[in-house]
Structure formats: structure tokens, C-alpha cells
Amino acid sequence: MLSRSAMLARKVLPRSLARTFSTEAATAEATSVTLNLSVPYESIYNGAAVDSVIIPGTEGEYGITVNHVPYVAQMKPGVLQVLFEGADPEKYFVAGGFAVTHANSVTDVVCVEAVKLDDIDPSAVTSNYEAAKSAYGAATAGSVEQAEAMIDMEVNKAMGLAIGLTLA
């Protein structure tokens, strides 16, 4: 039941200016995804209005478009794509991190390292992968060295996939 002042306001004022309960107020719809992509030493995108962002979540790749449901995800080493309308996607290889999408379509992506795919050296990826694979075989099961080798293997394999190599 509205208060007397609110009921009076409804008669006198145009509907849009009438006071309503806070739960009835329409939330302003965002017009684009506002992307904040940062690494510790650089803010790659800061408040950029983008069409959509494709994020490599640990449980699967997903895309964020405007007015997406709020979402929090851990990222796995993989490719993050930023799509602008009518332009080629900007691709970054991220080493992992987190991506948070808020109700107002602001998307914060934070990662320890994010590089453009052109900056990845294919021969280094192949040799680092092979070195990690032998380190994995040489390490004792369940040790930190084996876990580190596994991380190197996982990241190099993902980088290989991103630039078009297939590493076994």
C-alpha cells in the first residue's frame, strides 16, 4: 500500500516522477559490457565499452554480453577474446586469474600475465613443453617439482593450442 504522499504524487506528477518503493524502481540497463582487464603492471582495458568478452573459465569457455547474469569464474590458462562491433576480436593469452561480471555489465578480469598471441614464440613453446614433460617424468609422484612440471606442461600446451601447434 503506497503512502498518501506517494498516491498524491501519482495523480499530480507524470508517472516517471512519481515516488515508488525502491524495489519497484527500474534498474538502468547497460548498453555495453564495460571491460576492465588488468595485469599487475598494466591496465590493458580500463572502462572500455566492448560488445562481448569470451573468457576461458576452468569449467568451460563462456561469453559475456551486455546485461549478462552476474558471474564469477576462475580462469584457466587460455585465450581471452575481446569483441568489438565490426572489428576482429582482440585475443590475449592469459595465464589464469579471475573474471567477475557485475549486475551492471562491468566485467573485471584480473590475471597475473596476459600477452598478445603474436608475442608467443612457437619454438620456445615446443622446447619448454618437452623440457617440462621430461621434468614431469623425472620427478617423484606427488611432489612440488612434479606439480610445477605439470603446470609448465599445461600452460605450454594451452599456448600451443592458442597459436596453432599441437603438443602431445
Partner: protein, 73 residues
């Protein structure tokens, strides 16, 4: 075969920060030259820390890795 309840790195005793920074180091190790040298120092850090006991500051120890940082100095 069900998936393990937690990540392989957690089982091996690593923390998330160690995992994330190791993965970032792997990415840096596979970069092309001008960027590789530019980012080479990113994973490094150092600071001095000391433990206070009974109102007395203990000796300062230089911390240069996450493994060291995780210990109570």
C-alpha cells in the same frame, strides 16, 4: 573414475598464488624477444620481514619467493 576433490597443485602442497605465478612464469618463458626481456623481472620481488614477539622486533629476513613468504619468517 571420479575427478579429485581439489586441484593437483593443492594436493602437492602449493598455494593458489604459487600456482598462478608459476603459470605466469611459464608464459613469460615462451615470449618473443623484446617483450621477453621487458617482462623478465615481473615475477621477481623481495622485501624484508621480521617477527615481533613480546613487543620486541626480531631479526629482519629477506623474502624473495612465495615459498619463503608463506612461512612465518
Amino acid at each position: 573414475m571420479t575427478a579429485p576433490a581439489t586441484s593437483f597443485w593443492r594436493i602437492a602442497g602449493m598455494t593458489y598464488l604459487q600456482y598462478a605465478n608459476r603459470a605466469a612464469g611459464s608464459v613469460r618463458a615462451a615470449l618473443k624477444e623484446p617483450l621477453k626481456s621487458k617482462l623478465a623481472a615481473e615475477g621477481q620481488f623481495s622485501y624484508k620481514a621480521s617477527v615481533w614477539e613480546g613487543g620486541v622486533q626480531g631479526p629482519k629476513v629477506e623474502i624473495t619467493s612465495l615459498e619463503q613468504a608463506g612461512k612465518a619468517v
